[in-house]
């Protein structure tokens, strides 16, 4: 065990990147006061198919980061959990990773690498579960022509704190699709970020989050169009219920001067199910060239639609079940993209449960 070194800048909450985050509830992950425990919790859930390997090795980072916690992790943790898919491998069943251990009195600093060889195809589902204090630097590398569906499920127990960057580097003609689901934890802060390194690359960042009483969930996208002819789509949907439920969605999309032919659209929709909850939504599109296919963003925050509830209830459905149907319907568009019935139904049941607990 060791104490996190403190020769990094410590966020104060005044920085743009930290202005929403409740630093006092980070249990020392942000300022280096957390004691680092000796655990590497990420494990494979089932046997791995041919063409897939999982090992711990020393790897240098794929990409630079300006996030202070990522810098701390890189300064402390040298072992990287590396899931690698061979070139040309087509893995039909999803590969599940899960958490084998957790603790609140010590922190885990985790580095993860997912790499796909050229023209490989896979779906990876990471189950983030249990009670834990976890900071993670997760990097994904997509070789030319590869295709990955990356599902990260934040199903933590109530007291957990998770802060992470999920960074994808997408090469020529590769297709990256991520589905980020956050339904559990006390403080969850995820930076789903993408950089394109060659034309023809595409990324689709999807997500849902449901914060109930007292929970803080932040998702801070960054899509860097640094090459021509890449495509990105962002669609995050959130629901909030109960006092002091707070969510933050930041959608930063940068289209650099060289990125002609860029096609991008980002969308965030929030459903406020009770009073006393707060959803911050900040789309931010920076365009340095006019020679693009399209660029747009939209953000909406609304309440239960009385007309929808009336329609359902006029068919005999109780108010409680009508609300449940509407919320399930709201999330359905994204949840079904996971493509795994068992996981989808588990998430919907968790959402039902959260809704019930919040008394919405």
């Amino acid at each position: 065990m060791s104490v996190l070194t403190t020769n990094y800048l410590t966020p104060t909450g005044r920085e743009e990147a930290w202005r929403f985050t409740p630093l006092k509830r980070m249990r020392g992950l942000h300022d280096g006061s957390a004691i680092v425990g000796d655990r590497n919790s990420l494990v494979t859930k089932t046997g791995l198919p041919k063409g897939v390997s999982f090992s711990r090795e020393a790897l240098s980072p794929l990409a630079v980061s300006d996030d202070v916690i990522i810098e701390r992790i890189r300064g402390e943790a040298f072992d990287v959990a590396h899931l690698s898919i061979d070139a040309h491998a087509e893995i039909r069943e999803p590969i599940f990773l899960t958490r084998s251990a957790g603790a609140l009195d010590t922190a885990e600093l985790s580095r993860v690498r997912i790499s796909l060889g050229s023209h490989a195809i896979a779906t990876i589902i990471v189950e983030n579960i249990g009670e834990t204090l976890l900071a993670e630097d997760l990097e994904i590398s997509l070789s030319p022509g590869s295709s990955l569906t990356f599902v990260s499920l934040q199903e933590f127990d109530a007291k957990s704190v998770y802060t992470a960057r999920h960074h994808a580097v997408v090469d020529k003609d590769a297709t990256f699709k991520s589905i980020t689901v956050t339904v559990g934890g006390d403080v969850v802060r995820i930076l789903p970020t993408v950089e394109f390194t060659a034309p023809g690359a595409s990324a689709e960042l999807l997500g849902v989050y449901f914060a109930t009483t007292g929970q803080f969930f932040e998702h801070r996208m960054h899509v860097d169009h640094a090459v021509p002819n890449a495509k990105s789509r962002v669609n995050f949907k959130g629901a909030l219920a109960g006092r002091d439920a707070h969510t933050v969605w930041i959608g930063d999309v940068l289209i650099r001067a060289v990125a002609e032919g860029t096609d991008t659209y980002e969308l965030n929709r929030n459903l406020l199910l009770t009073d006393g909850a707060r959803a911050d939504s900040v789309p931010n599109l920076e365009i340095e060239t006019g020679e693009i296919v399209g660029a747009g963003h939209a953000s909406t925050t609304g309440r239960f639609d009385d007309e929808q509830l009336f329609y359902l209830m006029s068919r005999g459905i109780t108010l409680e079940n009508a609300r449940r149907l509407v919320v399930r319907g709201f999330f359905n568009e994204i949840i079904t993209e996971i493509g795994n019935e068992e996981v989808q139904e588990r998430l919907m049941e968790r959402i039902d449960g959260e809704l019930e607990r919040a008394g919405a």
Binding site: D306, Q308, M313, R315, I317, G329
Partner: protein
């Protein structure tokens, strides 16, 4: 044998300029198997009558009563009214994103029947209801009313009427936006529900053309928030010839 009794019903809505009275004392009695057409000009309060009986929160009941087989309807929540046997086919059915027609129908049938219908018989039931209304089977997988054409929305309403088997149905301008073929198909659905379930019908319409397909036993002329004239089917012929001018100018 069921009876829906509306007595002295007064209803107002809140507007920016305060509360406005829309229904000014409506009296109407509908029995099982009877079809009552309510006809009147736009803005006369016909739809307000429909939505007030169904319990839409926008409307405030300021007087009168509505009873179904003696039970106080106005005291019931919206879902309780449906469970008591009331059904409203809406003029503008609402979109429910992400909820499939099949999930919606099964949830409604479960709520109204008190238990989930057996899967095998239910699938056959839905299939035959859809066939009877000339609906594509793929319809069941679409989201409720999302991207439906006007005709599809109305067929979906009538399919629910046939599947959910209420005692009393209020059809709010079901004929609006339908071409002749769709009007015939939808009307046949209503007539089947009448024949099979001894349904009582309150048919709200602006035009007489639907009455060629669904024969009313009684016709009520609605103007300025109340019923101003009542008669048999021949009253509709008179309206067809003369319009509503006589009633509006009064």
């Amino acid at each position: 044998m069921s009876v829906l009794e509306i007595r002295g019903l007064q209803v107002s809505v809140d507007t920016e300029n305060g509360s406005v009275e829309i229904l000014k004392g409506v009296d109407l009695t509908i029995k099982s198997g009877e079809t009552h057409a309510i006809m009147g000009p736009n803005g006369s309060g016909k739809s307000t009558l429909a939505y007030s009986i169904a319990g839409h929160p926008k409307y405030t009941i300021t007087g009168g009563s509505v009873a179904l087989d003696g039970a106080d309807v106005l005291d019931m929540s919206v879902d309780e009214r449906a469970k008591a046997g009331l059904f409203l086919a809406m003029q503008y059915p609402v979109e429910v994103p992400g909820v499939s027609v099949s999930n919606f129908l099964r949830t409604a049938a479960t709520a109204l029947r008190g238990e989930a219908p057996k899967l095998r018989t239910w699938v056959a039931e839905v299939k035959s209801a859809m066939e009877a209304l000339n609906m594509d089977p793929a319809f069941a997988t679409r989201n409720v009313n999302e991207g439906f054409s006007g005709g599809e929305k109305k067929r979906h309403e009538i399919m629910q009427l046939e599947l959910l088997k209420p005692k009393m149905a209020i059809l709010d301008e079901t004929d609006s936006g339908l071409d002749v073929d769709a009007l015939r198909i939808v009307s046949e659905g209503v007539n089947r529900a009448k024949a099979n379930n001894d349904l009582g019908v309150l048919l709200i319409t602006h035009y007489t053309r639907i009455l060629k397909y669904i024969k009313p036993d009684f016709v009520h002329v609605f103007a300025n928030g109340k019923i101003v004239e009542e008669g048999g089917p021949d009253l509709a012929d008179k309206l067809e010839a003369n319009g509503y001018a006589d009633y509006v100018s009064k």
